[in-house]
Amino acid sequence: MSEFETLTVDVNGFPTRIWRKGSGPMLGFLAGYGGLPRWMPFLDELAKTRTLIVPSLPGFPGGDRGHTILDTHLDWLLAVRDTLDKAGLAGADLAASSVGASLAADVAALWPHMVRKLALIAPFGLFDEKNPPTDPWAQRGDAVPGLMCADPDIWKAMKAMPEGANSIEWPIEQVRANEAAARIFWPLGNTRIEKRLRLIKAPTLLLWGEQDKIMPRNYAEIFAKGITGPTTTKIVAGAGHLAEHDRPAEVAGEIVAFLS
């Protein structure tokens, strides 16, 4: 497992990491809150039947400091589109989680030809005053793992510094991932994506961890109702906000089945 290729492309002048593994039809994946500081089992699952391509987003691990020049939501969407283009993902299937899922949905709305089928895991982008998302940026440090994953140890293991990593730069990179998410979504997470959902024509799978403590589960209904293309909603048992890390085989299985 886990033999993957690492490529680097230039996005807005910043070196951007692209991971690639597997064979078969192309599938892109955009990571959720915290990004992908290391390769994760969920990616192996997707790569079993697909050519999996995982580009990093600006500011997230592998995305350098690309977030620092993105000031508006349009700046972000153009950067994501550019990243997908350079990763060779134009017109391919696209799966995405959490903060990445919100951006993937926006790309599918604005540039319909960029995405064939869309799989979204608990996307950011909405804010309902009566049922608000949890504020991920106003948390005591020890609370974060349990908010992101149903099993906090999975988050901790993903974020733990690997042997041989730079002990100063590694923690800074993890803070940067949180900053990049904040740069897009601060303070409420509301990008007013609700207004753009009708532009999404791609068939869309909505996945939500049953124990998601960040994004209220009934937001799935707002996405499903707003998206013009056909939608399917699945709740993943035993999973938290980053359902793909809590239940890699189940989440990958749902995505692959939906795309086939």
């Binding site: 000031d71 800074i172 940067r176 904040a182």
Partner: protein, 426 residues
């Protein structure tokens, strides 16, 4: 040297069990703890205290900006400063300051500071803080990832608004204004002196040194903890080949003067413990909005911890993180140097050491803190003015303060009628 009287305007009636019963003094402090009728009395006491400090001869009176904060009741320090401009005559008015990124458009700061400078006849010191995470990112919702970029841009806009003679268009990343042309313009030419309060980041030292601004370390942890930060600033000044003029630095210090050290300990203990216990009780969840601390400062912080350097408790730490580690009983408060206490001679001696060792020409003194009463504040202020101040006037006398306001000549200034309350019989 300059001795400046600083007020934070703390709410003085937080309940005794505040720490235990409430998550935070800042951001989500509960509104039920705020009694506006009591605050009426507090504000008026505080303004009396500032006016009294001016009357007894402090070089400046200082106010600052906080939001949703139980120890800082000045969301708008400019309101207090404008009143002080009328009720003081020769004292400098230090607004420490306006958090530039929070003003939309930032030309509001240029305008209001120009107003205060005009009303006061050129006595304003213009403070430009970035602002704490609690004030900026949480209470005001500013994006932590953009805060510093917005701050720098707002700074450039304010300076241009003060100095350019013609109406101009400002085409910034975050601010676009087609017609910038502020009225009024500041009395001081080209503009009031600019002071920057910083928390010890390398970037701020460098920026103050390059821009020729006063660097101020407004810490609540006294001179012992402040030493490493001020040393860092002077090291940066040395590196850039700049003068070690102590007037390019400011430092905040809590003070309690009495007849003797023991009397000071007894008199000020309650107020100090109120401040360090209740006022600095901030929920750690407000400590570190990602992006607030620059990567350079994070790096310096991690390196400092690895080396267990003297400043590892503060370097790269946010305001909230520093608060969490604070000492709260009077013995430790005094031992750590948070509050300097003693007889006038003892306080003068310690302050001389602080001013010399930290190489600071502007001492911003908190002689009211916590729930200190008006009476005790007056006593502390008077004793300091009469018996400590004269002993310190010679410190740094060989240097020139290039960063002090240059007011209009007294002969040109308005006659301000003395405040005369109507007699009840009239």
């Amino acid at each position: 040297m300059k001795l400046m009287w600083f007020h934070l305007m703390p709410y003085t009636e937080l309940p005794e069990d505040f720490r235990e019963a409430n998550p935070s003094v800042w951001v989500d402090i509960h509104s039920s703890l705020f009694d506006p009728k009591r605050a009426h009395l507090m504000y008026n006491d505080f303004m009396d205290e500032l006016e009294y400090a001016a009357e007894v001869g402090f070089d400046a009176v200082c106010v600052n900006e906080h939001h949703s904060n139980g120890y800082g009741l000045m969301p708008s320090p400019n309101l207090i400063a404008s009143s002080l401009a009328r009720r003081t005559r020769d004292t400098a008015i230090c607004v420490m300051g306006n958090s530039l990124a929070l003003y939309n458009p930032p030309t509001r700061v240029a305008e209001e500071f120009a107003m205060i400078d005009c009303i006061s006849g050129g006595r304003l010191i213009a403070g430009f803080p970035v602002g704490t995470p609690m004030d900026t990112c949480y209470a005001y919702g500013t994006n932590p990832s953009q805060l510093r970029q917005r701050y720098m841009e707002a700074h450039d806009l304010v300076i241009r608004a003060w100095t350019e003679k013609e109406t101009f268009a400002f085409n910034g990343r975050f601010n676009q204004q087609r017609y910038v042309n502020i009225w009024p313009r500041p009395v001081q030419n080209p503009h009031p002196p600019i002071w920057v309060p910083g928390g010890g980041s390398v970037e701020t030292w460098h920026w103050c040194a390059e821009m020729n601004y006063v660097y101020c370390y407004l810490s609540y942890y006294g001179y012992k903890a402040g030493r490493a930060t001020m040393d860092g600033f002077w090291a940066e000044m040395d590196r850039l080949g700049k003068d070690r003029n102590p007037y390019q630095a400011g430092f905040l210090q809590f003070i309690g003067v009495a007849e003797s050290r023991q009397q000071a300990f007894d008199l000020y203990g309650e107020a100090a413990e109120y401040f360090y216990g209740r006022c600095l009780h901030v929920d750690p969840k407000w400590a570190t909005p990602p992006g607030y601390t620059s990567e350079g400062s994070q790096r310096a912080g991690i390196e400092s911890q690895v080396k267990q350097a003297a400043d590892s408790a503060v370097r790269g730490k946010s305001t909230g993180e520093r608060f969490a580690a604070v000492a709260r009983d009077m013995d430790a408060i005094v031992d750590n140097g948070y509050v300097i206490i003693g007889s006038p001679d003892e306080v003068a001696e310690q302050l001389r050491e602080v001013a010399t060792q930290l190489n600071v020409g502007h001492l911003m003194l908190l002689l009211q803190f916590g729930n200190m009463s008006k009476e005790l504040t007056r006593y502390n202020t008077k004793l300091f003015a009469e018996q400590v101040m004269p002993k310190l006037k010679d410190v740094h006398a060989s240097w020139t303060d290039h960063w002090w306001p240059k007011p209009m000549d007294v002969s040109q200034r308005a006659e301000i009628p003395a405040y005369m309350p109507k007699l009840a019989a009239e």
